[in-house]
């Protein structure tokens, strides 16, 4: 591992990659739509008390996951955070197994033991959502190291929020990733808030991407609601990583439409603020849709067919989740460790009440 030997006075800007192909545009549109519908369905099922616990909805930010993951293959890794549904879906996770997980059912990705904040699909390189802000960044760096040591051209992507950029793990890992030239792409989705606090109150600098400068890492800010721009920046970052040139950071300026989690009354912002980001010139789904229409890639017929397909997929996902059983009591003790786990032995006189 050699020192990157950078001059930190430079502000290396990540160049934009090529314009997305027609296939990438259509795949991006389909993924944005899929994420949108998945979350709307999950939110509705939550109001029906079928989905348990809270949800951190990603609606409004979908172009970030879609624009980055369009460049990834099954060998590449993604690590996410509490707002992770979009990253899982864009990485190819199945909507039905994700829905079953939100329902706490045995056919969920984590057999019902993870929930929204821990959905993972290791078979597709999705290393998991994460309940600890900034924790996924190091995990992605470790997965990137795995590719580097093996000499493959695989990469890893860490998705995290603006709030994560104020924690130590981001800085420790950014330094090492740059030092070791890990094939890592850091994607900060700056959605304006860390929980309820606007980023101006959390960050000493206006832009997260400037922090990469301190580590000599190429970076840039993009309009996170524009699939095309995210896709072009991510294309450049992923290609750099595949070529062994090291990590990059992309700051996607975006906006979270729903509350931080369920039950957030949005007292820190107005309805007008939110509506402005729902407008056709902001909404990532509507923006990509009008682009596809204007360049002739999506006519009404194709559009309707895609919407119908995803609607049906969601109905099937809910059916799948509903028909999957809750785990049996035995599952409580399964998958703690592979070795015989710590078990407190039963007291002589108290066998029935053993803490087995």
């Amino acid at each position: 591992m050699s020192n990157a030997g950078h001059d930190s006075d430079d502000m290396p800007i990540l160049a934009l990659g090529p314009e997305p192909s027609s296939e990438q545009l259509l795949e991006g549109y389909r993924n944005i739509l899929l994420i949108r519908r998945f979350e709307e369905t999950a939110l509705y099922q939550s109001t029906q008390a079928a989905v348990h616990g809270t949800l951190h909805l990603y609606i409004g930010q979908e172009a970030c996951a879609a624009g980055v993951c369009v460049h990834l293959n099954e060998r590449d890794y993604v690590a996410s955070h509490h707002r992770g549904h979009g990253h899982s879906l864009a990485k190819g996770a199945r909507a039905d197994r994700m829905m079953a997980e939100l329902f706490g059912r045995v056919d969920g990705y984590c057999r019902g033991k993870g929930g929204s904040m821990h959905i993972a699909d290791f078979s597709r390189g999705m290393l998991g959502a994460n309940g600890i802000v900034a924790a996924g960044i190091g995990l992605a760096a470790g997965a990137a190291l795995s590719h580097k040591q093996a000499g493959t051209d695989g990469v890893a992507v860490a998705f995290f929020g603006d709030g994560a950029s104020t924690r130590g793990p981001f800085h420790e890992v950014a330094n090492i990733a740059a030092l070791w030239k890990l094939p890592l792409v850091l994607v900060c989705e700056n959605n304006g808030y860390a929980q309820w606090v606007p980023h101006e109150q959390n960050l000493a600098v206006k832009d997260v991407y400037r922090m990469a400068c301190a580590y000599g890492m190429p970076s840039r800010a993009v309009d996170g609601n524009d699939f095309v721009e995210v896709c072009r920046a991510a294309g450049a970052a992923v290609e750099r990583a595949r070529r062994g040139e090291g990590p990059s950071l992309i700051e996607c300026k975006t906006y979270r439409i729903y509350g931080h989690s369920l039950g957030d009354m949005n007292v820190y912002r107005t309805k007008e603020d939110i509506d402005a980001w729902r407008a056709p010139d902001k909404d990532p789904l509507l923006r990509l849709e009008s682009l596809l229409e204007s360049n002739g890639l999506l006519d009404a017929e194709r559009r309707d067919a895609m919407h119908a397909e995803i609607k049906q997929m969601m109905e099937e996902a809910v059916e799948f989740a509903k028909s999957s059983p809750y785990p049996e009591a035995d599952a409580l003790y399964e998958d703690v460790t592979e070795v015989t786990p710590v078990r407190r032995p039963a007291a002589d006189f108290d066998a029935e009440n053993a803490h087995e």
Partner: protein, 326 residues
């Protein structure tokens, strides 16, 4: 069988594993060329080029990068310079490593070994002297090893290196120079299997880590007085081999638990409570605990020696227990 030091037994287990598992890597501070703060990796970089990854001072990143590597199915070893600095990577160990398998519904293996030297040395003060096995044993999902001999250090590490679970491997820094016999090959020691370090009939001493050799010295002293102590070394505190402990207590009817940690909420306290709960009818008297006083480790030699149980403390308490006075 060859005579080997505790340090070299650890080094041998690492070398033997790196030789057969070409994906395994080691991350840590000051690894090259010094071999890490206690010299365990000396020469390994030349033997295994590119496999030792010299890291900046960033304990959280060391463990999370090692864990991310492990989550791709390949073994990663992280050395934390002093056990005290494990506090700088608690999230990575407790919230991440320990829970990945469970939270993912068993999708992922986490072949991660976090090695750290623990325990009181000489005059290094309160932030370089602690032993935190209780913190980690408390968390479901972790294996916690506490070897007290060269054979157990090499043997448990060999098992840790092929384990698919995260292992906290806590080496006692005062034991690095200790010598003992270890097999040259096939020396792995399973987790959750206590060792009876000395057979005896009158009193079971369950000792942890560095307290094992000290308890053996105490047993020598008491043997001269005609008492026979049985010394049990659990070797891993998670999982913990209660069966071997119970068998010993059933034979001797008396139990003394000795540990270097402070007793309040400790592994020793857990062992004492479990013996009392499960083998009360076998006991002739209360289970006793001997541990470090509940203070940070002081620097100055006269206070420092008071801050850890010694041979004479064990002898004195054992004598009273054997006389039915404690």
């Amino acid at each position: 069988m060859s005579e080997i030091s505790y340090r070299d037994a650890i080094r041998k287990a690492l070398i033997d594993h790196l030789s057969v598992d070409h994906d395994a890597v080691i991350l840590g501070e000051d690894l090259i060329p010094q071999g890490g703060s206690f010299g365990v990796h000396k020469g390994l970089d030349e033997m295994f080029p590119g496999r030792l990854l010299e890291t900046p001072i960033a304990e959280g990143a060391i463990v999370s990068i090692a864990l991310g590597y492990a989550m791709t199915g390949k073994t990663a070893v992280a050395e934390i310079m002093f056990g005290d600095f494990l506090t700088c990577c608690m999230d990575e160990i407790v919230n991440q490593a320990a829970k990945i398998r469970y939270m993912s519904g068993g999708q992922a293996d986490t072949p991660l070994v976090v090695r750290a030297p623990v325990g009181l040395a000489k005059n290094i003060g309160a932030q370089h002297s602690q032993t935190f096995e209780a913190w980690f044993a408390h968390v479901p999902g972790l294996v916690v090893a506490l070897p007290s001999t060269p054979a157990d250090a090499g043997g448990l590490l060999a098992t840790a290196l092929v384990s698919r679970d995260p292992v906290l491997f806590l080496e006692n820094k005062m034991l690095y120079p200790a010598k003992g016999e270890m097999a040259d090959a096939d020396y792995a020691v399973p987790f959750g299997s206590a060792r009876v370090a000395r057979d005896g009939d009158d009193l079971s001493v369950i000792a942890l880590g560095r307290m094992v050799p000290i308890a053996l010295e105490a047993a020598e002293v008491l043997a001269d007085e005609g008492f026979s102590l049985e010394i049990v070394d659990p070797r891993t505190v998670a999982p913990l081999d209660f069966e071997t402990i119970f068998t010993s207590v059933e034979k001797t009817s008396r139990a003394l638990v000795v540990e270097e940690a402070t007793a309040f909420c400790s592994v020793g306290s857990e062992i004492a409570a479990t013996i009392s709960e499960c083998r009360f009818m076998s006991l002739d008297g209360p289970v006793r605990r001997l541990s470090s006083p509940h203070v940070p480790k002081p620097f100055t030699p006269p206070l420092e020696t008071l801050a850890i149980p010694g041979r004479d403390d064990i002898v004195a308490l054992a004598r009273r227990m054997l006389a039915g006075q404690a």
